[in-house]
Symmetry: none
Subunit: 221 residues, 2 copies
DNA sequence: GAAGATTAAGGTTGGATTAACGTTTGGGTG
DNA sequence: CACCCAAACGTTAATCCAACCTTAATCTTC
């Protein structure tokens, strides 16, 4: 899940980035409003976390211009306790949710996941495919009623393919969704991660959860 | 692959033209903004590479007018590092991608190819012809409600003929689209691929999806 | 130092390409 | 008009190479 974080304070920015990455998000973190808008317009993020007080360009302006460019990216606003008017304005401009600083990290994660779920039109955080059950809210995977431990990256990949279920995802697309920035990651990383997931989530006598379409990419059918 | 390059500096223009032609693009290179707009409107380019700093007409104006004329041509912007505002404006106006000077030529080529791919993939995703249904978004082909697996090359060829439906495509044209850059592909490759597609997508008692116009090429009528 | 992420290397598979040969087409000729 | 021939096209089989899978080693991070 690709996430853009636009936040003034470097302390908070770094802390959030780290925490969110542990939760399986691929985070691009920007400190400047104008630059943030640039990134938001240039790429297709799953969700945007937006502080309202920004140098370069005000958070509300950023949001307005994003919506003006007809972008539907889900946006969660971070605001101070006394910025009631701004918060209202933000929701009017098409923000999808907001949190008041100081932030409860777990609540932030929960709300972000809800937004992502909404984006992919999944009603429930739990998906069951054959003998495999995935809970995207708790980052848990069950296989034949036994929990299997996936690493953050493994889980992120599984979750992404699940969100795009039925569609074949090329390695390029997967890479862009699992890693920050664009196009820098090379090699066979994706292959290896897929291999590991398969090994962990394998049920004897059954087709693999993740199938490969040679020359195109991977799918969960 | 028809490409329009609108770039002020003659040095860069010539260099890019040569390089891109070596990569298999058919390049029209223009140095003036107003003239560039004329060309962009006059022909149906696969992709437009647009410098922002131009004599005659500003690159952003050019882009605005192009979109104003309802042209969907994919546009890649070239800008200097400090032109953040212009870049944002460009993306808002409907540019599809941008690169910051100085340009990494390989990255330029990679991104241009991605844009062209997007162009041919993002038409209407589902086409039905007789008993055959093609979903270009999912890389799937259905024949009599049974999915048939096409290889990447087979799919690319089918997709190309579909995009040009009704028009007879010569082997040369097809080759140029399927084998960008490498140029000298000889032999009967196209014939073989067509044969394979036909075999896979054949419906008893019905004319083949792909028809051959002897001496001219292939069509999907 | 332990878990996870990434790179590297080897083995395997299947698509791409070539080449050879069979088939059709269309026009020229008696 | 029937025939023939050459070029264009169709099909199949064999070879080659790129994509893929897996394991192991190396690099990061906490």
């Amino acid at each position: 899940m690709k996430l853009l974080l636009v936040e003034d304070s470097q302390r908070l920015r770094n802390a959030l980035k780290k925490g969110l990455e542990k939760e399986g998000f691929a985070v691009d973190a920007i400190g400047d409003g104008a630059e943030g808008l640039e990134w938001a317009l240039a790429y297709d993020y799953d969700v945007l976390v937006l502080d309202l007080m920004l140098p370069g360009m005000n958070g509300l302006d950023l949001l307005a211009r994003l919506r003006n460019a007809a972008r539907q990216t889900h946006v969660l606003i971070l605001s101070a306790k006394d910025q009631v008017q701004d918060r209202i304005r933000g929701l009017e401009l098409g923000a999808d949710d907001y949190l008041i600083k100081p932030i409860d990290f777990n609540e932030l994660v929960a709300r972000l996941k809800a937004l992502v779920r909404r984006r992919y039109a999944a009603k429930s955080p739990i998906t069951t495919i054959g003998a495999v059950k995935v809970n995207t809210a708790l980052n848990q995977v069950w296989c034949n009623d036994r929990e299997v431990a996936l690493s953050p990256k493994e889980f992120a990949l599984l979750q992404f393919l699940l969100a795009k279920r039925g569609r074949v995802m090329s390695r390029d697309l997967i890479r862009d969704h699992l890693y920050e920035g664009y196009g820098d990651v090379t090699g066979n990383v994706i292959d290896v991660v897929v291999c590991k997931i398969r090994k962990k989530v394998r049920v004897a006598g059954q087709a693999d959860l993740i199938q490969t379409k040679r020359g195109f990419g991977y799918v969960i059918p």
